[in-house]
Amino acid sequence: MATRYLILEDGTSYKGKAFGSQATTTGEIVVNSNMLGYQEIITNQIYHNQIITFTQPSIGNTGINHKSFESIITNAKGIIVREYSNISTNRLGNLTLDRFLKQHNIPGIAGIDTRELTHRIRRNKSMKASIVDVNDEHAFDQLNAAVLTNQQVKQVSTKAPFPNTGDGYNIILIDFGLKYGILRRLAELDCNVIVMPWNTSSKEIMDLDPDGVILSTGPGSPNDLPESVLNMIRETQEKLPMFAMGLGHELFALANGAETYKLKVEHHGSNHPIRQIITNQIIYASQSQGYAVDPKSIKHDQLLITFIDLVNGTVQGIRHRDFPSFSVQFSPDGGPGPEDTVDLFEEFLENVSSQRR
């Protein structure tokens, strides 16, 4: 394995061993503390623009399998690991992580003190980083000059509607960077799903006579999306039960008068206790967020807070007072991460069935 370097905006340089693609890459560096599920993480569209550091030191152990894709196209800019295994030991496929990364032109770097890196990232604000062949001044200049796109949703969202058929409720799923876990959970509940582009209007939704609407997770800042998306949400929630998650949740909050902010340190993991306000129960969920809804901005005559993260106090769920619409910051489908929150999909369908009566 060739020697390559990970360089950070703060001037730090790490020597490591290259795997995956040998391309030079630049992105925002984030830390993910899930112990398993690297395939789900790497293929999650929310990592568009980002380089992922894994805290679990041994990555690649089971290779790549067909059940763990959260999207077919992966948009992560790179991955950083302590140790990398170039094998595939799972019974579902023979593709190794290395080959997969090469196919998708994603560089990886191994042999990094990821614990030290994690401490560094947590101390600093979010930083840009590059994986490069040479860690000279030029490389740092390039890194500092790099501007990351804010058009992620447009780039990852589907251009045309497509169905995922079923015999049950007719659900519209708005794709802001669709995570396949959502489709899997809806398929388990036998929904007839139509996936639509991020800029779908409420009229286009209503024309399909759906029973409910889901707003998917996605990459980037909710403020980078135009007002038309918020209008779609406002108009649709009055007519249909709505369930939003991740970026969708942030947009749902914006549409209902709340504000969002960028977290000092992005949080990617599934170890935080999250309290469900209404039952006082604590659950664990797959979280990956760079932005959060500001609790002070929530208009209490419009929204109820339903979930709170006990570690950083962020709002993890809200619900509309007047309509059967709700949203969560985490990924209720897991993938990777706990299944504690999967029944939110059932809750959504109960809202749907209750409306239909």
Binding site: Y14, V31, S33, N34, M35, L36, G37, Q39, E40, T55, Q56, P57, S58, N61, T62, N65, K67, S68, R82, E83, S85, I87, T89, N90, R91, L92, G111, D113, T114, R115, E116, T118, H119, R122, G269, S270, N271, H272, P273, R275, N280, Q281, I282, I283, Y284, L310, V311, G334, G335, P336, G337, P338, E339
Partner: protein
Amino acid sequence: MFNNEIKKVLILGSGPSSIGNETELDSAAFQMMVALKKNGIKALIMDNNPFSLTMTEIQSANTFVKEINLKNVLEVIKKSKPDAIIPTVGGLRAIHITQELMNQGILRDLNVKVLGISESALKTVNDSNRMKTVIQQSDEPCIPSKIVNNESEAFDVVRQIGFPVIIKPINQKDSVKRKVCKNTDELSYFLENTFDEQNKKCIVEKSVVGFKQIEMVGIRDENGTKILVNGLENVDAVGVHSGDSIVVSPIQTLTDIEYQNLRTATFKIMENLDIVGVCHLQFALSAKDNLYFITKINPLVNQSTAFSARATGYPLVYTCTNLMLGKQLNEIQLPEKYNHLTAVMEPSLDHIVVKIPIWPFENIPQASQRLNTVMKSVGSTIGVGRTVEEAMLKALRSSQFSPRDVLPSMKNLDNDELINRLIHPQSNRLLVLIEAIRRGYQVDDLEELTKINQFYFYKLKKLLDVEKLIVNHPMELNTIEHAHQFGFGDGMMAETWNIPIQKVRDIYHQYNEYPTYKSIESSAGELEQNIESFYSSFEKENESHKESQKTALVIGRGGNKLGPNTAADYYTAEVLIQLHKLGYKTVIMNNNPNALSLSPQISDKQYIEPIQLGDILNIIELEEPVRVFVPGNRHFLMKQLKKYTELNVQILPPDQDTGVILPKNVSYALNFFVTNDTNYFISSEKLISNLNNDLDHVTNYEMPYIGLDYYQLTKNIKEASAHIDQSNWIGLVQILFNEKDNGESEYVGIRPLRLTETIFLSKATGINWIRELVKFYTKRFDSKIIDKLNTNQNRITTMRATFPFKQLNIHIDHGNSSQEIGAKLKFRLNE
């Protein structure tokens, strides 16, 4: 809701150590006691294990030295009137007694609650039918089985569940043994030839031999909040007891989907059983499809929960004690060094822990070495590292007790025997696997033969590559750097290159390369906390810094073997406690996951490292201890350490290799505390051998020896004192006597008092002699303690060693002291 009604609880201890129970239960009881105290609850303890720290740390008025059985427990409950009893740190024996007390309605009548385990969970332990019901109620899969009456019904079942199947007799007392049938012929043949014509009633069960074994440890609070503390991957497949398997944490070869299935299943079972506290589940996973079965439910503290606490740094026992008192996970106030959120964060690890078992076959060669579903190992060691290879090699180095740091070779095995051992696992499993790779076996074939995931062969292969690098590129910085990354020690390189270890160290030290120590904590670097438990790596950031100007380093015993080992670990714990009391900052180095001496409450800092010269020197260079204590005899290590003359090293008891010739026959001894100017007589002791008067077979002790009359004793003391004066011995010294056939006794030898007998002496005299020894060697001994000596001859203390023969399924009449696994303590009055 915090339960205010509980003011006084009785903890049922674990009794003498045995296979499957080392010091982890006592360690848990100790931590539980600390947590109970914090909550203002009085803890009583009942145990007859002389090597229990909990027994020492609880006021003697609240301890009951009695064998744990139904009659005695009932007696103690009636006498001490606790509000509740806690059976979860007493192993299965305590659980069974509690089941019995509950079934007989005794607890209800006496208004005594059971803490730490729910009624439904208690009923499920060791009741396979109930376990099956619980699993089915939770909508989870248990191993399919059915009672059949004839061959045709048997085949009906097989058509449903497929081969292989296990055929079990209905009546356990039947002479018919269970049998695995892999195909139609085997099944027909077995049914035809084993059972009589009329009655073919038997159980047909799906065989999961060869399935992957996974263990999960979860906790739950009263409000239903559940955390998965740890997942354990057994490297060996079903067929080898999980206690005899190499274990890796966190789980390495499952996908997240598989993992989450098991996590959810664990939670469903815990919910069903209304667990408040800890629960350990075992699973069998098919290697071919997504099939899994729940095979065991253990709602109590055991070696897997102890390993999980050690591996994750999660304060498991402390948390569970609070949970059983009715607190919720987010309400628990942890000791200061933890982040206040640690208890309620689901652990996420950024290190890897590997556990390797230690078997007793060296001391008991008669036992079958074949590993099966009955546990045979008596101890284990763990290695912690930042890569699987590093953790695995550290665990292996720790388990091998080779002070030279090189791995024992298996090259003498012939090929047939090697294949046989790959298919039928024996002790030293990992070395056999390494040998197979060395001989060029292909990974696919190895996976087929061993049912071990090829991931591990791939890792072992990488280790061998590095070994080759060490051999072929000696004395190069690059080689050393690589070797360190993969967990090789400096001693191994020194041995291979035939140079002093210091030379190896000089090569990398001159490039300013030193080990970096990383904290064993459960948030993967997210939370700020000061957990003082470390492992080494060679990376960028070091998190452990010199503890103080007055640090004492104590070098633990490592993995348990037979002989005085659990006693040695208790001894080590006492040394740590006393050093701390004397104002030292204490640092312990050990690698036994079950070790009492690693309980975070009794030292200021813990290093989980191999006990080998290079690793010890690394810590010494960082901590610069003013004193080093080495409990127990380790000649080779001592010889090496003594070369570093600037170190203040004290071995306890003092080293015996200074030319002591021990007698063959003994019958009693006198024990002295010897200072530079005085010999204090402490007690006489009857040494009871189970084979004539053979010293090696002395496994039974009585104190004082009431057979000595005053005249004889006075004469012996005088004689002994003279021998002491002639010797160089100081500290605790034992003078051995033998009674001849004519009734006369003669002096036969002198030796430092052994570990086990030092503890025994403490129990008998009411003075903690380990602590006095520590004071003595740190020049803080005050002879006034001798005045407190209990000279009451009315109480006789006995200690009887216990052996693992029954568990190993062998019969040995005369166990010797190197085969001891534990001991029982008893007091009686001299009538």
